[in-house]
């Protein structure tokens, strides 16, 4: 009986205290007609040794190809200390800190996380995380609709340069509340949001403008202009940013004249492994004035009976377990364990380290871009500065190229941009973080060259 500590003697004694003849008796309030039989489609149990062998075999099937793929999930070096500490039982197997006095470890850590994220984003406040970057954007949209008291609109301006999957997720989450996402096109030369096109919306009533930085193409947006435009047009501004990039690029709190209202994004680059897409965590920061509209857990510092500093869940009146149908969101859990990892990661990297991660990623992507566009049949699509991703056009079917490189060379070549942007033709988006070496880049380039030009 895996994980059951009861001996036969225990069972007898316990049943006797209960006054039942058998464990089966304890289910006597369930109508007999409902009881299920054996779950035949579930296989027999395995012991840990057997399941270890099974999982190792499965893992070996997947291998570890050389990765030039980003598009929302990035391979960064994660210091060994991060997960050795994060998986300590006291973090790993604790629950939401409802009993604050017995959860000061988690609570202080979350307070430190909020402080780090707010500072990294240049914002006043931060929550303690949401599910992931995409759903965080959906929550930011809902929040903006609630928070923008000046607007009666339930419309949001959403640049097409925003990660297309984030746009889908936002759509799926907000569409039942009659919120409309209005697309803003991009400049086909630069890959940036088209300011002229944006101007055509001036004077209309929108709740908010979404501003990605870098945008999905890896391109640096004119964030100051976009933020200022939103403010002028009485919209809130919602930044969606890569947190590593913010150690290098101007943070949303400093965009335009007054900074954006809400920042959200995907926390994965901060010490969370790729892991087939999750668990990651979404983050969200905002201006102080919006804090009561912000969804998700928030930790506050306070004092105890003796006046000693301590930490506790705060502003719970926003949350579903108190406010039920009037809550700011139905969100109940956060992604505590990932936030634990991210807090340790940011502490280990520090301001200099995180900036260097961003710089090295940028540099490697420049190297990669330069090396690849020198190959016959490869050219760069956009003429604008990029962070650590770059869209290329190829003289070859991209899907087939990705498949061949993966199958025959164990290289993940990049993301098939054409799937979401058919107007770009055979477009491949490549990424190189600080983990890629010059050798890696050369290996990729040589292989690609051979494939294209024989």
């Amino acid at each position: 009986m895996p994980f059951i500590p009861h001996s036969e003697q225990d069972i007898e004694q316990m049943l006797s205290v209960i006054g039942a003849d058998s464990i089966e008796d304890l289910f006597d309030e369930i109508p007999a007609s409902l009881r299920c039989g054996d779950l035949e489609k579930i296989p027999q149990g395995m012991n840990e040794m057997e399941v270890t062998r099974l999982l190792r075999d499965r893992a070996a099937q997947d291998g570890l190809p050389l990765c030039f793929l980003g598009a929302g999930a990035y391979e960064h070096h994660i210091p060994a200390a991060v997960w050795e500490i994060t998986t300590r039982g006291e973090f790993y197997s604790a629950y939401t800190p409802y009993q604050a006095e017995a959860s000061q470890g988690t609570l202080q850590l979350l307070y430190e996380f909020q402080s780090m994220m707010a500072s990294l984003m240049g914002m006043d406040v931060s929550n303690a995380s949401l599910y992931d970057g995409a759903s965080a954007l959906a929550e930011a949209v809902l929040m903006a609709v609630r928070a923008n008291k000046k607007s009666k609109s339930r419309k949001i301006l959403m640049p097409v340069t925003t990660n297309p999957v984030y746009r889908s997720v936002t759509e799926a989450i907000v569409n039942n509340q009659d919120i409309e996402l209005v697309a803003v096109p991009y400049d086909s030369e630069t890959g940036q949001t088209d300011l002229n096109a944006l101007d055509s919306f001036s004077g209309e009533d929108f709740s908010a403008l979404v501003i990605p930085q870098p945008n999905f193409f890896g391109v640096i947006e004119n964030v100051d202009a976009l933020t200022a435009w939103a403010a002028e047009n009485k919209m809130l501004s919602i930044a969606v940013v890569n947190p590593v990039a913010m150690a290098l690029l101007k943070p949303p709190g400093e965009w335009g004249q007054t900074g954006v209202d809400i920042v959200c994004g995907e926390g994965q680059p901060l010490g969370v492994p790729l892991a087939s897409g999750g668990p990651y965590f979404g983050f969200m920061c905002c201006k102080q004035k919006h804090v009561r509209q912000m969804p998700g857990r928030i930790i506050g510092r306070t004092t105890d009976l003796d006046g000693k500093e301590g930490f506790t869940l705060t502003l719970q009146a926003r949350e579903q377990h108190i406010r039920r149908s009037k809550a700011t969101s139905n969100i109940c859990t956060n992604q505590g364990l990932l936030v634990t990892a991210a807090t340790i990661y940011m502490s280990l990297l520090g301001p200099e380290g995180l900036k260097k991660v961003a710089l090295n990623s940028h540099k490697n992507t420049q190297l990669l871009r330069n090396r690849l566009q020198a190959i016959k049949g490869v050219k760069t699509v956009f003429n604008a500065p990029n962070f650590h991703e770059c869209v290329l056009q190829l003289d070859m079917d991209v899907k087939q190229l990705i498949d061949t490189l993966a199958r025959e060379h164990h290289i993940l070549a990049g993301f098939e941009v054409s799937a979401h942007y058919p107007e770009l033709g055979n477009a491949l988006m490549v990424c190189a973080t600080e983990t890629r070496t010059e050798n890696d880049i050369e290996q990729f380039a040589t292989t690609l060259d051979t494939l294209l030009n024989g």
Partner: protein, 484 residues
């Protein structure tokens, strides 16, 4: 001491620094950051020491009995973590081709199959990131179903008053109005009230069974009939699935859609508040609406099915495929339990709860529903003690911490005054339950003889009782000294 208070300008964890780099000709100056973010400047050892010591300030399953009702705090097998952390699993890019993912995807495919079987549903999507997202997905599917049939007058979701707060919140997220159904005095749903509330405006009902009151609703088939007859659908909140695993299946009870909390029933770590995973299972009629991606099989290969494969899907709920690493842990756990292990979970969770309830009643505590069987959890009410001794459920909870027990859930469900919701789970030994009873008895004595020891508890933890009101009124959620 905060990590920031150990920060020292110019210090760094040097082994973690990437190499220095040349200037950045390619980035425009006005896009660059000029301010230094106030991340701590500390050495690697300081980081390790700080967070190791912080961790020791937590209660957790690995250190304490943690009978937090409705949260299913059971043992999280270490193998699940070790194996899900194999480098090939943690290193796999979510957008990598399925040929580099057959190992991972095969686990997910099998997990879908096991969850279908154990819930009696026809199809499962693993993508919701947590229970609340599963609820959202479930209600959104109900809406999509009615919408497709142009049954658009259905604007209301029924929710019992004992339900988790997420239920009404999720219904509202989907654009529904919420109508509460009262609980009868025996803990089951008030059937007459249900009949009164239901009508052509009813899109569906969200139910937890066993309910949050710790009892199994015996009239579930009748409820299902009433709702279905009215054209509504039934949503099953899987928070309490641990109680009935392998005993009775939501699909057989008549539910149309269910979410499961894998971080409860399938023992993935709670992680200090997450990540969870909230897969949804559906009956045949809701299958087309399942959120994507779903793991399917094409030409002998495991693949992620997307919007093209599932054109009626309610869409995506997160950027990739949900909390994959959590799902992998749940898969490993399920493989270790196997067929027989599933129903043993319910057996021993129920045995422990009923034993603990009986012994606590003998020790002088009042059950909220003394005539009912406990399921995997049960409710004590301290109404009498509050009145007679002026001690509250919160006082008892805080005092338990002094005795090295995590407190049960307090003041939930809201309809039971001064309540403690207690869920021991199947992984605790009888001795632990006995020690808990002894301690609860001792606390009851203290309540009578020296109530101050409860009112000012805890005494022995890193902090005494915290001022939650001050935390709200003098809001301090970011280290202020950062900006000085």
């Amino acid at each position: 001491m905060l990590i920031f208070e150990q920060s020292h300008s110019g210090r760094a964890s040097n082994a973690q620094l990437p190499q220095d780099n040349e200037a950045l000709a390619s980035l425009p100056a006005d896009a660059l950051r000029t301010s230094k973010p106030n991340l701590p400047e500390v050495s690697e050892m300081q980081v390790v020491r700080h967070f190791t010591r912080l961790s020791q300030k937590n209660f957790s399953i690995d250190t304490h009995f943690y009978p937090l009702g409705s949260c299913t705090m059971k043992y999280n097998p270490r193998a699940c973590n070790t194996l899900a952390s194999l480098p090939e699993f943690t290193g796999r890019h979510p957008l990598g081709p399925s040929l580099h993912g057959q190992g991972f995807l095969s686990c997910m495919y099998e997990l879908q199959g096991m969850l279908k079987e154990v819930t009696g549903m026809q199809a499962v999507s693993l993508s919701p990131a947590a229970g609340a997202q599963g609820e959202f997905a479930g209600v959104a599917m109900i809406k999509a179903y009615h919408d497709e049939r142009n049954d658009t007058a259905r604007c209301e979701i029924l929710v019992p008053d004992a339900a988790h707060g997420t239920n009404p919140a999720s219904a509202v997220m989907c654009g529904y109005k919420v109508r509460e159904i009262p609980t009868g005095k025996n803990g089951d749903v008030d059937i007459e009230a249900l009949k009164e509330a239901i009508g052509p405006q009813t899109a569906g009902i969200m139910l937890t069974n066993p309910s949050t009151l710790g009892v199994f609703d015996r009239k579930i088939k009748e409820i299902a009939g009433i709702v279905h007859d009215a054209g509504g659908l039934l949503y099953y909140d899987g928070a309490n699935l641990n109680a009935i695993l392998g005993k009775v299946r939501p699909g057989d009870m008549g539910f149309d859609v269910i979410h499961m909390n894998l971080h409860k029933t399938f023992s993935t770590p709670h992680g200090g508040g997450g990540p969870g995973a909230g897969p949804v299972g559906v009956s045949k009629r809701l299958k087309p609406y399942l959120p994507v991606p779903i793991v399917g099989k094409k030409e002998g290969q495991y693949v992620l099915l997307d919007e093209q494969d599932c054109p009626k899907t309610i869409g995506r709920l997160s950027a990739f495929a949900g909390n994959a690493g959590v799902l992998l842990r749940a898969y490993i756990y399920a493989k270790m339990l196997g067929r027989e292990g599933m129903s043993r979970v319910a057996d021993f969770a129920t045995l422990n709860a009923n034993y603990l309830l009986k012994r606590l009643m003998s020790a002088g505590y009042d059950a909220a529903y003394p005539e009912r069987r406990a399921t995997h959890e049960f409710i004590l009410t301290l109404k009498k003690q509050a009145k007679e001794l002026d001690v509250t459920a919160m006082d008892v909870a805080k005092r338990l911490l002094d005795y090295d027990f995590h407190a049960p859930t307090t003041y939930f469900p809201l309809l039971i005054p001064e309540c403690l919701l207690i869920e021991p789970t199947e992984t605790e030994a009888k001795e632990t339950l006995d020690e808990f009873v002894d301690t609860m008895a001792k606390i009851l004595d203290e309540a009578k003889m020296q109530p101050e020891s409860l009112k000012n508890a805890p005494y022995s933890l890193p902090v005494r009782r915290l001022d939650d009101v001050k935390a709200v009124k003098q809001l301090d959620v970011v280290w202020q000294e950062l900006n000085q």
